[in-house]
C-alpha cells in the first residue's frame, strides 16, 4: 500500500494538489499528508532547445533561475571544444526531459534523482555565454572576440566585490521550479568536472503577480514593465541580436550581449522611507504600478507634456532609465530580472536584492548608456550594485549535429 502510494506520487509528476487530494481520500490512518503548494505543479512542458538563437532570452520568464559564472580550467582548445559539446549535450537532454539511463544498483546513478525517475522538462532553459576573459591567450581565440565584448566597468554608485565578479562563462538556468534549476545545475557541473569551475552563483526567483499585472521586486514595485517589443523581429534585430554588418565576427551573428548586475537592496532603509518618497524615487505608484499621474501599469507616460516633472519627477528611476525620446530609443534593453534572497549580513540586515539581467545588441550603446543616465539617481541611496559581469550569449544550436560555441571554435 505504502509502496504503491509512493510510486503514484512519482508518476503523477509531483502534482502537489493532486497528490494531496489522493492522500486525503485514501482513508489510510498513518498516511503522511503532503501540504499542497500552489503555482508549483511541475507540469510545464519543454521549451525547444534548438533555434537561431538560444532559448532563455525571448522565452517567457519562469519563476526560478540560477546564474553561474564559471571559470574554464581546461588547458587547451580541444578540451574547451569538448566542454562546449558536453554542455550542449546535457542541455539538450535536460531541456527535453526523459528517463535517465539505468546503470544498475552497483554504480553511482546516472542522475541525481532529485526530480524523480522521469525527469520533467519543466520549461527549463540553459543559456550559455562567454566573457572577454575567454579571449585571452589561453585558447588563442583573441581574434574571434565579439568586438563589443568588454569587461564590466565600475559605475560611480557601485561597490563591487571581487568575489562576485568575472568568470569566463555564464550559465543562465531558468525553469518552472527551483528543484528543476538545481537538478540541471548538478547535472551540468557533474558532467564538466575538470573543465570548468563555478566562480560565483546567484539564485533568483520571480514572484507571482500580486494581485495582477507584473511581478514585484523587493522594493514592492512592479519591475520589468517597459520592455521593447522584441517579439517583433524587426525590433529584435535593432535592439537584441547581433546581426550582419556591424563589424562583428560572422560566428557571432544570432548571439546577444548579456549583462548581469547583482544589486543589493537595503530593504530596512527603504521600508523607513515615506510612500511619497518611494513613489517619487521610482516614478510609479507602488500599489498599481501605474506611472505617477496615470491609472494603469500599462499606461505610457507622456514626458513631453510632463516636461517639468510635476507628475513623474525628472530624477525618477523610470524616467532616467527610459526617457522615451527618439535619441534614447536605440539604448533600450530587454530586461529579464530576478529577485534574489541570500540570508543576513554581519549587521543582521537582510541580504536581498535584484539580479538585474538584460540582453542587447550593443553594450556601450544600450546598457552603459542607460546606466550612465542613472548615475547618482535618488534610488542609488537604497541599492548597491556589488557584482556581475558582461557576457556574450552564443548563437543558438541549429540542428541535432550543432553545438554551442561551434561557430566560435571552428571559425
Amino acid at each position: 500500500m505504502t509502496i504503491d502510494r509512493r510510486r503514484f506520487l512519482l508518476r503523477s509528476g509531483l502534482g502537489a494538489v493532486g497528490a494531496f487530494a489522493a492522500l486525503s481520500g485514501s482513508g489510510d490512518a498513518d498516511a503522511d499528508v503532503t501540504l499542497p503548494v500552489s503555482g508549483n505543479d511541475a507540469t510545464l512542458g519543454p521549451v525547444p532547445f534548438e533555434g537561431r538563437h538560444q532559448a532563455g532570452i525571448l522565452t517567457a520568464l519562469p519563476p526560478a533561475a540560477a546564474f553561474l559564472a564559471l571559470d574554464v580550467i581546461a588547458e587547451d582548445r580541444s578540451t574547451l571544444t569538448d566542454l562546449f559539446r558536453t554542455v550542449t549535450a546535457r542541455a539538450r537532454y535536460l531541456t527535453a526531459g526523459g528517463v535517465p539511463p539505468d546503470l544498475g544498483t552497483a554504480s553511482p546513478p546516472s542522475d541525481s534523482g532529485t526530480l524523480g525517475a522521469d525527469v520533467p522538462a519543466d520549461a527549463l532553459t540553459v543559456t550559455l555565454g562567454v566573457s572577454s576573459s575567454l579571449f585571452d591567450d589561453r585558447f588563442a581565440l583573441a581574434t574571434r572576440r565579439p568586438i563589443r565584448l568588454t569587461t564590466m566597468r565600475a559605475f560611480p554608485n557601485d561597490g563591487l566585490n571581487p568575489d562576485w565578479l568575472g568568470g569566463d562563462l555564464m550559465l543562465q538556468l531558468c525553469a518552472g521550479s527551483t528543484d528543476t534549476v538545481l537538478h540541471a545545475l548538478r547535472d551540468i557541473t557533474r558532467h564538466t568536472r575538470g573543465a570548468m569551475q563555478v566562480r560565483w552563483r546567484m539564485d533568483g526567483f520571480i514572484s507571482p503577480p500580486r494581485p495582477t499585472g507584473l511581478p514585484r521586486n523587493h522594493l514592492g514595485f512592479m519591475d520589468g514593465i517597459a520592455n521593447p517589443d522584441v517579439t517583433n523581429p524587426k525590433i529584435a534585430d535593432q535592439l537584441l541580436w547581433v546581426v550582419k554588418g556591424h563589424g562583428e565576427p560572422a560566428w557571432a551573428v544570432g548571439g546577444s550581449y548579456h549583462v548581469i548586475r547583482l544589486i543589493r537592496m537595503f530593504t530596512e532603509f527603504w521600508d523607513r522611507v515615506s510612500l511619497h518618497v518611494q513613489q517619487a524615487t521610482i516614478g510609479r505608484y507602488r500599489a498599481s504600478g501605474a506611472p505617477l499621474g496615470m491609472t494603469s501599469y500599462t499606461d505610457i507616460p507622456d514626458y513631453a507634456k510632463d516636461r517639468h516633472g510635476y507628475d513623474v519627477p525628472l530624477t525618477a528611476h523610470m524616467r532616467l532609465a527610459n526617457p522615451r525620446t527618439a535619441i534614447t530609443e536605440p539604448s533600450r534593453i530587454l530586461r529579464r530580472g530576478y529577485n534574489y534572497d541570500l540570508g543576513v549580513d554581519v549587521n543582521g540586515t537582510l541580504n536581498m536584492g535584484l539580479v538585474f539581467n538584460c540582453f542587447q545588441q550593443d553594450l556601450l550603446r544600450q546598457f552603459e548608456a542607460t546606466q550612465t543616465r542613472l548615475v547618482d539617481e535618488p534610488l542609488a541611496d537604497y541599492i548597491r550594485p556589488f557584482g556581475g559581469g558582461y557576457f556574450f550569449a552564443l548563437p543558438g544550436v541549429r540542428n541535432s549535429e550543432d553545438w554551442l560555441g561551434r561557430g566560435l571554435m571552428q571559425a
Binding site: 566597468r153 565600475a154 560611480p156 554608485n157 557601485d158 561597490g159 537595503f266 530596512e268 532603509f269 523607513r272 522611507v273 515615506s274 511619497h276 518618497v277 517619487a280 524615487t281 519627477p313 530624477t315 549580513d345 554581519v346 549587521n347 543582521g348 540586515t349 535618488p378 541611496d381
Partner: protein, 248 residues
C-alpha cells in the same frame, strides 16, 4: 524652519573649526613620528567628523573626499580618489606608512579647511534636516556596523557612538517643530538612543574599542537591534516636520 537651519549651520560651523584643529594635531603627531599618538589623534578627529553628522553624503564631493571609502572606486584602495580619514587609517594601522600618512593628512586638512570656508555660505534645504535625523544612523548601520568601512582601526563602534551624538543634536534642534504633532517622539527616540549608547559602550574591552567582527555575537545583536529600533522611531521625523514639496 529658519531658526532651526540657523542653529544647524552654527553647530556645524563650530565643529568644522574644531575638526580643522584636530586634524592639525594629527599632522603634528605624524610629523613627530609618534604612531601611538597619531592613532589617538586620528580617532579624536574622526569622531568629531561623525558628530558633525557628515554621514550620508551631507557635504557632497568634499564630504566624500574627507570620509569616503574605497568601496565605490574602480581601483579600490589604490585609486588616487581614495583620500581622507580612511586612507590615513589604512596608512597608520595596516601599512605602517608614516610618510604616506603625512601626505594624506595634508590633503585631508586642506579638504577640511575648504569645507569650513565654504559651509557657512552653502544653502541648506528645509527638507534636509529631518531626513538627516534618520539618515545618519542608516549610514551607521549599513557602513559601520557591517564593518565595511574599517580600514584597520577597529573603531566602528566608536564612530556609531559619535553618530548617535550627531543624531541627538539634530533631534533636539528639531524638537520645537516635532513636539506639537508628536509630544512623545523626542522622549521615545532619546530613550532608544540611550539604550543604543549603552549597548555600544558594552562592546569595549578593557577600555579599548573592538572591531565589529570581533565583538561577541550577543553584544552585536544588542547594538544592531537597538539601532534598528531607534531608526524605526526616527523615520517618523520627516513626515512630522511636514516639509512641503519634499522629494528625494
Amino acid at each position: 524652519m529658519a531658526p532651526e537651519i540657523a542653529s544647524y549651520r552654527g553647530y556645524v560651523t563650530q565643529k568644522l573649526g574644531l575638526e580643522a584643529s584636530e586634524v592639525q594635531l594629527l599632522a603634528t603627531a605624524i610629523a613627530a613620528g609618534q604612531v601611538g599618538a597619531a592613532r589617538a589623534a586620528w580617532l579624536t578627529a574622526h569622531l568629531t567628523w561623525h558628530r558633525i553628522g557628515g554621514a550620508y553624503d551631507a557635504f557632497g564631493d568634499l564630504g566624500l573626499a574627507i570620509d569616503g571609502t574605497a568601496l565605490r572606486l574602480q581601483d579600490g584602495i589604490l585609486s588616487p580618489q581614495f583620500t581622507g580619514f580612511h586612507k590615513v587609517e589604512l596608512d597608520l594601522w595596516q601599512n605602517g606608512d608614516l610618510a604616506a600618512a603625512a601626505t594624506d593628512t595634508a590633503t585631508l586638512l586642506s579638504d577640511v579647511d575648504e569645507l569650513a570656508g565654504k559651509f557657512p555660505h552653502e544653502s541648506i534645504s528645509a527638507a534636509e534636516l529631518p531626513l538627516r535625523t534618520h539618515d545618519i544612523l542608516e549610514d551607521a548601520l549599513r557602513d559601520e556596523l557591517s564593518g565595511d568601512d574599517d580600514y584597520g582601526s577597529g573603531t566602528d563602534m566608536a564612530a556609531v557612538e559619535a553618530d548617535v551624538d550627531g543624531t541627538r543634536e539634530l533631534l533636539s534642534l528639531l524638537a520645537p517643530v516635532l513636539n506639537p504633532g508628536a509630544p512623545h517622539l523626542e522622549a521615545t527616540a532619546t530613550n532608544e538612543l540611550n539604550k543604543l549608547d549603552a549597548a555600544l559602550a558594552a562592546t569595549r574591552t578593557n577600555g579599548q574599542w573592538v572591531a565589529v567582527t570581533q565583538v561577541p555575537l550577543a553584544q552585536r545583536e544588542q547594538v544592531d537591534g537597538d539601532i534598528g529600533a531607534a531608526l524605526e522611531t526616527l523615520d517618523l521625523v520627516p513626515e512630522l516636520v511636514q516639509v512641503k514639496g519634499l522629494t528625494t
